[in-house]
């Protein structure tokens, strides 16, 4: 551990960003929904970029509840995959592995997902952060919070259980 070389910040960012990009770009549904991720260290924020096709109720305009659920589920699955892969990625570093081609872990499967709708989703961008409550060998529990203009005024929150890939 003490012999470990301190990595160049650019190398480190490139590795983390390329893995995250591949992890999210591989999912057609996330692309269709316009979901992207912002990364600060290991912390991810999911962003749902507003488009009119997300509307469920035309007047007053509100994002479809199903689309909100979907956004939260994508945020939860990505966080779970990302956080379980993080240590592997950091331990191996950039010299031994080509992260642009290295196979990514299979995705966890949703067992159940419960969403509370706290406020209508306004026709604008939405953000979500997921926290892994517990991740065992087989099962994981994740909670997600989503907001729009104010971080403290959540418009939806969710809890889900997932089956970890073998």
């Amino acid at each position: 551990m003490s012999a470990r070389k301190i990595e160049d910040v650019q190398t480190l960012k490139e590795r983390r960003d390329s893995v995250l990009k591949r992890m999210t770009a591989a999912v057609p549904y996330a692309r269709f929904m316009g979901i992207s991720f912002d990364r600060r260290g290991d912390e991810l924020t999911a962003i749902l970029s507003y488009t009119p096709m997300l509307i469920g109720n035309p007047s007053p305009a509100a994002i479809h509840g199903g689309a909100t659920s979907a956004f939260l589920e994508v945020a939860a699955i990505t966080e779970l995959t990302w956080s379980s892969f993080w240590q592997v990625m950091e331990d191996r570093g950039s010299s031994a592995t080509d992260w642009s081609t290295e196979p990514l872990p299979p995705l966890p499967k949703t067992i159940d997902f419960t969403v509370d709708f706290l406020r209508p989703g306004l026709p604008r961008d939405a953000y979500a952060r997921a926290v892994v409550n517990r991740s065992g060998r087989r099962y994981a529990s994740v909670r997600v919070e989503a907001w729009q203009d104010n971080r403290s005024r959540l418009f939806a929150q969710a809890t889900g259980h997932f089956l970890m890939p073998e």
Binding site: L54, L107, D112
Partner: protein, 148 residues
Amino acid sequence: MTPEQKKATQMFVDMLPHCRELNIRIEDVGPARAVMALPYDTKLVGDPDTGVIHGGAVSVLMDTCGGASILMHPENGGSFATLDIRIDYMRAAKPERTVFAEAFCFHVTRTVAFVRVTAWDEDQTDPVATASAAFTFTPRRPKAEAVS
């Protein structure tokens, strides 16, 4: 279901841009009940390794179908919104298959509607997912008031 009922419910769904985008179709409606279909589309794939559609797309189908069952409730008098929904995923939907959902609004109070939904792809007795949801609810005005 009469052709008029089907047309009216399909119009409700077509007014929702997100449902139009997903090409969600009405299959059948009845009192406090709705059946819908979500055709398979590669843009909805959640796991590229398997071609299985994302659970999120199934959420949209089940939420919409739940809403339609309230719309079809004889006591319904106005707007409704999802308060919460819990979805249990029994298994992955088969790639290339249309996913169906049937929703039943089994109880309403003056303020809340309770709904159960089942989703399947080939056999209704072998569900892909089930959901239970609570919606805000506005009852129809009593007849005496409506006359005045």
